[in-house]
């Protein structure tokens, strides 16, 4: 399937010789080393491996959101040709959500329990677009519609715990899509879901891909039944 996409343009994401270290009790050790990858517009790349192999660490490093104990020891991350590792914290904040967004594994814990779904999405829109509160909220509802959230107006006004697992993951995807990012990282987007819902979410991710063009996804392998990825 990948052959269908013509990949003659420059990669939107390029990672060279990435090394991630974790600072444990007895010195530091590398969880990821000599990682090289590139993703062109419209392409999906899957990172596969068993738990603890460094998939999630790589994903977090791409957003410069590694936990305190971990750090990028060496290597380069280029987003749209810009050196992401060299940017100031301010620039990184401008890139997050706008150029590179992420779908997290556990939608229940990844969404703020005390804020309404619509507010959480609108907040991302307002961060990157000059627009009023109202416009941002309208954009949020629109994005929820895009991810086929049933009854998006009503759902936007609800809290995460009021939604089912599948709907939460749709909200999570809407959150990632809200600012039309160039790259989307999906860290095991369906492991927390039931099989019938998994199928729908994976279907949705491939649909959204054709709608908004470009993303990247890492995929689950921890369960025997699901070594599959949305290779659109």
């Amino acid at each position: 399937m990948n052959a269908i996409v013509q990949n003659d343009q420059a990669p939107v994401l390029q990672v060279t010789d990435l090394e991630i270290e974790i600072n444990g009790g007895q010195g530091s050790f590398a969880v990821v080393s000599e990682m090289n990858l590139h993703v062109r517009a419209g392409e999906t790349l899957c990172i596969v491996g068993e738990s603890g192999c460094g998939k999630s660490m790589t994903a977090l490093a791409l957003l410069r959101l590694l936990p305190d104990a971990a750090k990028v020891a060496s290597g380069k991350i280029l987003i749209d040709g810009q050196d992401f590792m060299a940017m100031s914290e301010r620039q990184v904040e401008d890139y997050r959500g706008e150029k590179i967004a992420m779908i997290f594994q556990e939608p229940l814990t990844a969404l703020n329990p005390v804020l309404r779904i619509g507010e959480q999405i609108a907040e991302a829109v307002r961060q990157h677009r000059k627009c009023s509160r109202k416009e941002a909220y309208a954009k949020a509802v629109e994005t929820l519609q895009l991810v086929q959230m049933p009854d998006p107006e009503r759902r936007a006004g609800q809290f995460p715990h009021e939604l089912s697992g599948g709907m939460r993951q749709r909200a999570m995807i809407a959150l990632a899509l809200a600012c039309d990012p160039k790259i989307i990282i999906a860290d095991e987007p369906t492991t927390a879901l039931d099989v019938t819902i998994q199928a729908q979410i994976l279907g949705l991710i491939s649909t959204c891909k054709s709608v908004s063009a470009r993303r990247k996804s890492s995929s689950p392998t921890t369960s025997a039944s699901s070594p599959r990825s949305p290779i659109g």
Partner: protein, 324 residues
Amino acid sequence: MQPDATPLLSVDNLEVHFPIRAGVLQRQVGAVKAVDGVSFSLNRGETLSLVGESGCGKSTTGLALMGLVKPTGGTVNFDGQEIRDFNRSALKSYRRRMQIVFQDPFSSLNPRQRVKDIIRAPLDIHKVGTKAERDDRVAELMQRVGLRPDQADNFAHQFSGGQRQRIGIARALALNPDVIVCDEPVSALDVSVQAQILNLLSDLQRDLGVSFLSISHDLGVVEFISHRVAVMYLGKIVEIAPKTLIFGHPTHPYTELLMRSAPSHDPRRRHQFSATNDDIPSATRKPSGCPFHTRCPLATEVCKTVEPALTARPEGQLVACHHR
């Protein structure tokens, strides 16, 4: 090995309802029908898998059979003996012959106990043999499940997930039970380790003739270990059939959805059949009629009002559907 045909365990119309209370006086205003009239039987040396998505009541069924959750209705017949009242004394002998292996190998072993004490506990509780005999039995069991006897003094946290699950299996085997309930025994493990544990389980079945009631949402695991499969949806069994039929010719629309949703490496097999509505009803607000009608592509008026009964089909499966 071929399972024996006389049922060892038969479950008839098992119900587990949890009350929902509200108001000033906390009166019961409804019930969560976690298990709502489940019937099946299990033969000697057979593996029956209960499959379904989270919240369908498969785990509750297992817990109810173990007496860990009190059933609100139904009967259980174990080797000719009827268990109606699930109180402690009635369960005592039954519990020697029926054991459970839990999903989570981390929380199923007491972190403050040594492995030998964990495996010995069933022998101590039922006062089997002398102290020396119990020690010998522990060593034998550890060997049986592939643990080294010199690990007996270690604590659970010193083991990997797979090894912990072996400890849990050894504990379940200690009293030579006839039936072991396996509640998602491998879902918390990495793929490569899953295979080892599944192989261990089938070796044990071959050598000891033990029956397994396996509870799983992972169709790969189910296909590997089952003789028969029961598909559950919202507290009810919608289809029971031999494994080959379930995987080859799923009859109930829900079974079909489940099979089609299962990840596959073949892109052509995907999304031929899909339910659009992911607002899955819960056991608290169960739909009228056929519980699956809100998501079923075949649903008609009759499905909304009349609940289909589990009836036999010519190929040998039992299905609860008006249209198939």
